[in-house]
């Protein structure tokens, strides 16, 4: 059966998991999202992770699984608790309750060992202003590895090139713009070739071109690493993420693959040419159809059909329409939601 609301618009979200089967999204059995197989061992695993500052609950009971080689977008409005969660995962802050493991290591007890395998970009990255970009990367690199100076320099050159800072490598970071600092932030997070990249708002300070470059870099890095990044730029998430976790007021309100989150489920969209009146009345008479909405466009008519049974919709809808010889179907498919709609509905749903 099909309950449109159960796809993502239900609170509390625990119900979503139950009704949609998303509770099965565990590391070994993560479904394919965004056309990529992201199954694999869990890189980040958190259970009931909570943080309280005085009387304020910054994060409440966060359960999280980030599979290896996935790009996971950590979404939420400002103050949702994204940065708090990231800091807890990296051992920069201690949880009030709950626990987290990265690579199977405890985030509190083994944080130094964890950080040898992690690259982290803070929300507003800051560096020693008297150091140049090259010196900053050298300083960072030496926390992770040692070896011949030439090999370290090669690594630094490669990293500078990756973020497009080669021509500014020998300038002190004091004069860097926000965008340049952000690029250097990504470079220092990547210089150790980490197994996990944790990026807190990686594109926030960038112009559209810079944002595009960052997304490209993330796409390139996914071959070698798992990327867990927070953002409030929904378009970016939709473009590169396999998996989306949405946080609101310190609570997780959604956790699904991007395709699942955007899947319209029981709503179909058809673009038609010809007389649609017969088809509309035929469909309205079907027991598995709950709603038919027709609208006119420049190239014909657009029909939005909501069904009560997805299997019946898949099997019978197009067949019913095509039985009408007066109609030509130019487009047919399940309606895809826009992440912004999903996000707003989830967040506003929580608020009401």
């Amino acid at each position: 059966m099909c309950d449109r609301g159960s796809v993502w618009n239900i609170e509390p979200m625990e119900s979503v998991f139950t009704e949609t089967g998303l509770e099965e999204l565990r590391p070994a059995e993560v479904r394919e999202g965004s056309g990529r197989d992201i199954s694999g061992p869990s890189v980040i695993h958190a259970t009931g992770l909570s943080k309280r500052f005085g009387s304020v609950d910054a994060l409440t009971g966060l359960d999280l699984n980030v599979p290896q080689h996935s790009i996971v977008g950590f979404l939420g409005p400002n103050g949702a608790g994204k940065t708090t969660a990231i800091k807890l995962l990296l051992g920069l802050s201690r949880p009030t309750s709950g626990q987290a493991t990265l690579f199977g290591l405890d985030a509190v007890k083994d944080s130094t060992a964890i950080r040898t395998r992690v690259g982290y970009l803070a929300q507003d990255p800051r560096f020693y202003t008297h150091l140049t970009a090259r010196e900053t990367l050298e300083f960072t690199a030496k926390f992770f590895f040692k070896g011949p100076k030439s090999a370290i320099q090669d690594r630094i050159e490669e990293t500078l090139d990756l973020v497009g800072l080669s021509d500014k490598a020998d300038r002190p970071t004091k004069g860097f713009s926000g965008g340049e600092r952000q690029r250097l932030g990504i470079a220092q997070a990547q210089v150790n070739h980490p197994d996990l990249l944790v990026l807190d708002e990686p594109a926030a300070a960038l112009d559209p071109l810079g944002r595009r470059d960052v997304l490209k870099i993330m796409e390139r890095l996914r071959e070698h690493t798992t990327i867990f990044y927070s953002t409030h730029i929904l378009d970016d998430v939709q473009r590169v993420s396999d998996h989306v976790v949405i946080l609101h007021q310190g609570r997780k309100v959604a956790d699904a693959t991007t395709s699942q989150l955007l899947d319209g489920g029981c709503t179909y969209q058809l673009d038609l040419r010809g007389d649609t009146s017969t088809a509309k009345s035929t469909l309205q008479g079907q027991p598995w159809v709950s709603e038919v909405v027709l609208s006119s466009t420049e190239s014909g008519d657009s029909m939005i059909v909501t069904v009560t049974d997805q299997r019946a919709g898949d099997a019978l809808l197009l067949r019913s329409i095509l039985s009408d010889d007066a109609l030509t179907v130019t487009n047919f498919g399940r309606k895809q939601h826009n992440l912004e709609d999903v996000f707003l509905q989830l967040v506003e749903g929580q608020e009401t």
Binding site: R115, R126, Y128, T140, K146, P194
Partner: protein, 267 residues
């Protein structure tokens, strides 16, 4: 592919290390760099040459009919007593932002997000700043003092006792470096750090003669007198081992408190 595998490809090996020393050598390199590859070292050296050697050179030049031995004693005592007070204040003023500033700027959070122990973060600052002040405010002015004394005084300065005085002054420097860094670990702003540190130094100047000896002995206020007494070879009225031992114990306690606090810091 793991990070290690790819590191091996380019002949790089993991930095390794364990416990509190993880990241220490890299941090030390950075902290020493801030002293010796910037203008900090020569500005500090210039200040101490002007202050310590300036004052003592004036004393050496203006003997005012003093006996040669008294003149040496006067110059040496002034050198160590001024050093004890002035260096204490300078350390507090210079280092008040060493940890707080990094916390405010976000660089502390950045550094501790790397594989580095927080203890190493504090210890690297302690070692680098102690070394920096010991060289610029004690070693170089002392060398200049001895050279100047060689030329201007008829009575020689005893090098061995003078070196003892330098060692005690170094203990004084260490105390204020540790105190300031520990306060930096405990407070979020510079105000309390500068306030507590400078008040402690100045209270010694104004009140050490008025307060009970047991209280005074529990402070670093007498280290200047101890240093001067070693250098001029005149034992003071109190057991000079007591202030040194007390200062040593306090340094250890303060350092442990600072490290403990910084390890609990949330970024």
């Amino acid at each position: 592919m793991t990070a290690t595998t790819r590191v091996d490809k380019v002949e790089l090996i993991p930095a390794g290390g364990s416990g509190w020393t993880v990241g220490l050598s890299n941090l030390l390199r950075k902290e020493f760099g801030q002293w010796w590859t910037t203008k900090l070292w020569w500005i500090q050296t210039l200040i101490w040459l002007l202050l310590l050697n300036g004052v003592t050179t004036v004393i050496m030049l203006d003997s005012s009919g003093m006996a040669p031995a008294d003149l040496v004693r006067e110059a040496v005592q002034t050198f160590f007593l001024v050093a004890a007070t002035a260096v204490g204040i300078a350390i507090v003023l210079t280092l008040q932002g060493s940890i707080v500033g990094e916390r405010e700027l976000g660089t502390a959070a950045w550094v501790v997000s790397k594989p580095v122990s927080r203890t190493a973060f504090v210890v690297s600052k302690l070692i680098a700043h102690f070394t920096g002040f010991a060289i610029t405010a004690i070693l170089i002015p002392s060398a200049v003092f001895l050279v100047t004394a060689q030329f201007l005084l008829t009575e020689p300065v005893a090098y061995g006792p003078f070196a003892m005085g330098m060692a005690v002054t170094a203990l004084n420097v260490l105390f204020y470096v540790v105190l300031t860094l520990t306060l930096g670990c405990m407070f979020k702003s510079r105000g309390p750090i500068a306030g507590i540190g400078i008040t402690l130094v100045l209270m010694g100047q104004f009140f050490k003669g008025m307060l009970p000896e047991t209280i005074v002995l529990a402070t670093p206020w007498l280290l200047g007198d101890v240093a001067a007494s070693f250098a001029v070879q005149q034992p003071p009225a109190f057991d000079r081992m007591v202030p040194m031992i007390v200062a040593g114990v306090e340094i250890v306690i303060l350092a442990l408190v600072g490290i403990w606090r910084f390890n609990r810091e949330e970024f």
